[in-house]
């Protein structure tokens, strides 16, 4: 794996803990994220991540026909597309409506002509596994409005009818209890330190509504619900099931004798529907693959995201389902310096034969990037400033002695940090971002810089990381990028990964607040008129890669 830097969001650590977990602990990965996945709340001056933001659905659409479904009809249509979109019950690929006229492709393939032309009956056909709905006796007279026809089947299923009856039965109770639960909905502050998102609130309200009694178990709400006499459970008339228990068994969904009988006669494993094939169904279905039915495609949603603490909107997409623009987009990449890490001893040699930069294959030359125990290696950190003001950055390594606290009886040696990191001790500048750097036609400049970088790498390599000159310190400044060098000294008995938490602290001056033209995530940190220096601090985890034990050392020079 290529060396990587991830950024810390403190939401998993609780209020009192400000520092991230040690990098070798499993909990570490849950707290660190790639920079481009993080948000930034200006109000709280804090990083937020997908685990802690509150989510609100701002619109529903079908991922296949891309129709934007009004929220009013989402419920009636049971969260699935009500047009002509179905997924294959066997492979989940999208099904196509085809007519049953004879194939006429001269190429010998069973070419199926497209919908809306040709003869009835129409049926659904899978382009991937070639399943078709005629196999299970589903055909249509017209190629349109198929979902409505299939939903009729769904709705007439005994389980569905039973569920409808249950809902009907509880309706009067639901109405009163939802009234009281909406009255009693107090934001819970005791158990969760984060306020529940409105989606969670909606879900819990729905649960309280649909499963009577759930709302009552909220200790905060109990007193108020208790006051509501009409919601008394005892006043409910007894529910009589529409069908006898055991009827469901005859439908083939109970795992009883008929299933055993069917299994006895089976010859191929494929005759049993896999769990995945049955997973997405609303009701329990039969075990037999031949009983599987096409599924209406579940809808997707567009979401807004809010800061969990101050409720300010961090992400607000445009209404149109397929638009990739945002009305509000406060992402951390517009506030924090972007950082990349590289090991110069792995670069250069293989740069030329890598066809695509974004997919460096981890499998080939696995050992080329590895570091040997007992050696030291330089590494490069490139910091890119997204702000319109220059920043001054200071880096420091979080001490690793955190682990020593856990067990004092363990031998001293095992707890010793297996490697030592050197970083520039003084702060260094990163120039301001300017639109000009991004210009399309400055390729020449980029080319030149790349050459310089190549030279730089060559020099460091000659010294084999031992040269005292410029292994640690600022190596290069270009545009809004500063490259600094660090060094890792790996202990002789070291194992595992060179992975360490790094504290990044940057100061920025904001004397002329720039008006944000589009309002969408421009780096505008407005401060008072007088030039003011502010500091922002965040944690990162730097993963330089695995350590090779000394025994496995292969010396190419011999």
């Amino acid at each position: 794996m290529a060396p990587a830097i991830h950024y810390y969001c403190p939401c998993q650590s609780g209020e009192s803990v400000q520092t991230p977990p040690p990098p070798h602990m499993a909990s570490s990965s849950a707290s660190f994220h790639p920079l481009h996945c993080l948000f930034f709340c200006e109000e709280c001056d804090a990083v937020r991540c997908n685990r802690c933001v509150s989510i609100e659905v701002s619109g529903y659409y079908c991922p296949n026909c891309l129709f934007e479904v009004p929220s009013a009809s989402v419920r009636a249509e049971k969260n699935r597309c009500a047009r002509n979109c179905f997924s294959c019950p066997i492979c989940r690929s999208t099904l196509q409506v085809v007519a049953s006229d004879p194939p006429d492709g001269g190429d010998g393939r069973p070419s199926v002509s497209l919908s809306n032309v040709g003869e009835p009956p129409f049926f659904l056909y899978c382009n991937h596994c070639r399943w078709d709905s005629a196999e299970v006796g589903i055909t249509f007279e017209k190629p349109t409005g198929l979902a409505a026809q299939l939903q009729k089947f769904e709705d007439s299923a005994p389980e569905s009818l039973e569920f409808e009856r249950l809902k009907e039965h509880f309706e009067p109770f639901l109405r009163t209890s939802s009234l009281s639960s909406s009255l009693s909905h107090v934001p819970s502050t005791s158990s969760h330190h984060l306020p529940t998102s409105s989606a969670t609130a909606a879900a819990s309200a729905a649960l309280a509504r649909d499963v009577p009694g759930v709302g009552k178990y909220n200790p905060l709400a109990r007193s108020r619900v208790g006051r509501d006499r009409t919601a008394n459970k005892d006043e409910m008339p007894e529910y009589k099931s529409r069908m006898e228990i055991g009827v469901l068994g005859q439908l083939g969904s109970e795992g009883d004798g008929s299933d055993v009988e069917a299994l006895r006669r089976m010859e191929l494993a494929e005759e049993i529907a896999s769990l995945e094939q049955r997973w997405g169904n609303s009701w329990t279905t039969s075990l037999r693959t031949s009983d599987l039915r096409p599924l209406r495609i579940p809808l997707h949603s567009k979401v807004s995201k809010r800061c969990p603490t101050c409720r300010h909107i961090l992400i607000k997409p445009e209404q149109k389902a397929q638009s990739v623009r945002y009305k509000i987009k406060l992402v951390a990449a517009n506030y924090l310096p972007a950082m990349t890490v590289a090991l110069p001893h792995t670069q250069g040699a293989d740069a030329a034969r890598r066809p695509q930069a974004k997919a460096p294959s981890a499998s080939d030359d696995r050992n080329a990037g590895a570091m040997m125990a007992g050696k030291s290696y330089p590494f490069h950190l490139a910091l890119t400033n997204p702000l319109y003001d220059p920043i001054q950055v200071r880096l420091s390594v979080q001490r690793m002695h955190v682990t020593a606290v856990t067990d004092s009886t363990a031998p001293e040696k095992a707890r010793r940090t297996p490697f030592a990191i050197s970083l520039p001790t003084s702060s260094f500048p990163v120039a301001a971002f300017a639109e000009a750097w991004e210009y399309d036609d400055d390729d020449d400049m980029f080319g030149l810089e790349d050459d310089e970088l190549g030279l730089e790498m060559g020099r460091t390599r000659d010294k084999d990381g031992k040269g005292k000159v410029k292994t640690v310190g600022v190596l290069e400044k270009r545009a809004n990028v500063t490259v600094v060098g660090g060094e890792v000294v790996i202990g002789k008995e070291a194992r595992g990964y060179v992975k360490f938490n790094m504290l990044v602290s940057y100061t920025y001056r904001s004397d002329d607040p720039l008006p944000s033209e589009d309002g969408a995530g421009t780096p505008s940190r407005t401060v008072a008129k007088t030039p003011e220096v502010k500091t922002f601090t965040f944690y990162t985890v730097v993963d330089l890669g695995p350590i090779l034990p000394r025994e496995e050392k292969v010396d190419p020079d011999i």
Partner: protein, 188 residues
């Protein structure tokens, strides 16, 4: 900070608009192909501009926008179907900042902007890929699939995996631009 990706200067033809086309790529029917500029066609790629709609006159068969990459060994072939008894090819339109990984076979109808397709993918006939979508390596997308904006698809058949981050557009734009600037000739 990323190292340059070198190519042999003799192998590539660079156009006025900065397209870089390998001499080892097969460009059939070049008059029917449009490259938007700063687009790279890698060695071994096959682009079938010759598979055009029947009928007189000029026709754009395959168009690619700016900062695209057609990876090594890719096959780009316009989709076809028989409609009312007539066999025909249909044009393929690809937006800006689109990277297609090595050895992919693409028969899509449209691919939006800022789309990344991994290596060894098969993109079936008449597939529609919306803006900022991504297809993971080794994915098989069956014909007529629609991939919505900002969705990641993977598997065989390719299925929705997750929504991509809100900053995908900026990420892909800078990655594709960077790739173009890193793609440097080596004299020799």
């Amino acid at each position: 900070m990323d190292a340059p990706v070198y190519y042999s200067k003799a192998e590539f033809i660079e156009t006025d608009t900065g397209n870089k086309v390998s001499r080892r790529a097969t460009i059939a029917g070049p008059q029917n192909i449009i490259l938007g500029g700063k687009t790279i066609i890698s060695s071994g790629a096959i682009i079938r501009g010759d598979l055009r709609r029947t009928g007189p006159g000029h026709a754009v068969v395959i168009s690619l926008g700016r900062y695209c990459l057609v990876g090594e060994g890719c096959v780009m072939r316009p989709p076809y179907k028989t409609y009312r008894g007539n066999f025909n090819y249909y044009p393929m339109k690809i937006g800006d900042y689109v990277h297609i990984g090595a050895n992919a076979v693409v028969e899509a109808a449209t691919i939006g902007n800022h789309v990344v397709i991994g290596k060894n993918c098969v993109i079936g006939k008449f597939t529609i890929i919306k803006d900022c979508a991504q297809v993971a390596d080794n994915t098989i997308i069956p014909p007529n699939t629609v991939i919505p904006a900002l969705a990641l698809f993977a598997g065989s058949p390719g299925r929705f995996v997750e929504d991509l981050p809100e900053s995908t557009q900026e990420m892909v734009e800078s990655q594709t631009k960077q790739y173009y600037s890193r793609f440097q000739p080596l004299e020799r």
